[in-house]
């Protein structure tokens, strides 16, 4: 019994229309499959939203974080935040006064 199972597992798949071969390996990628198995749609939606949020956060870090600089022309990127808030939630801090450091240059 085990030997039969082993042999069957390592055997080639049954002969099908060659154009359909990729679908035999990966079903669920076409609209037709999604209509047939509705449950896959929420999975796709949630995965795309989650991936979008993760990617969006990384993009925000790369573009706006006070310690990220992409050009030599901006060697001290935190100075752009003397009176601005980067954090979404900053627990009641008062940003309106801005940095107390005197501009001496």
């Amino acid at each position: 019994m085990r030997l039969t199972r082993l042999l069957r597992f390592s055997a080639k798949p049954p002969k099908q229309d060659p154009a359909q071969d990729w679908r035999w390996k990966f079903s669920g990628l076409t609209w037709k499959d999604m209509k047939k198995h509705y449950a896959i749609i929420p999975i796709y939606v949630m995965t795309i939203i989650a991936g979008g949020m993760a990617g969006g956060y990384v993009y925000r870090l790369a573009s706006k974080h006070p310690e990220v600089s992409w050009t030599k022309a901006n060697p001290e990127p935190w100075n752009d935040y003397r009176a601005r808030q980067y954090k979404f939630v900053s627990s009641g801090r008062d940003y309106s006064k801005g940095s107390s450091a005197p501009p001496y240059k």
Binding site: E67, N79, A83, S90, R93, D94, G98, A101
Partner: protein, 94 residues
């Protein structure tokens, strides 16, 4: 807050005729909003020396930076950096 007098130490001191003593610490700087203030320490140290270099030692606003880095930075770091400055091996741009 338990202390509701807005940090006003003047009342008690005026009676004894002493100078008002204000207890302060480094004010909040939006450039460094997180708990990790390492950058704040280092940038204040650099700013102090740049301020001295640009405006001379007697320029009063430079003292702000000195108070900040003396409060925030570990003394060992300040000592090490000042040694490096004297030896000419300090890595920062002053």
């Amino acid at each position: 807050m338990a202390d509701a007098d807005n940090g006003d130490n003047s009342a008690a001191c005026v009676e004894s005729g002493e100078e008002e003593y204000r207890m302060e610490t480094v004010p909040f700087d939006p450039r460094f909003p997180n708990m990790n203030q390492t950058k704040h320490c280092y940038v204040s140290f650099l700013d102090y020396h740049r301020c001295i270099k640009a405006r001379g030692e007697d320029y009063a606003p430079c003292q702000y930076f000195q108070r900040v880095f003396r409060s925030l930075c570990p003394n060992a770091w300040v000592a090490k950096w000042e040694e490096q400055i004297e030896a000419g091996t300090f890595a920062g741009k002053i």
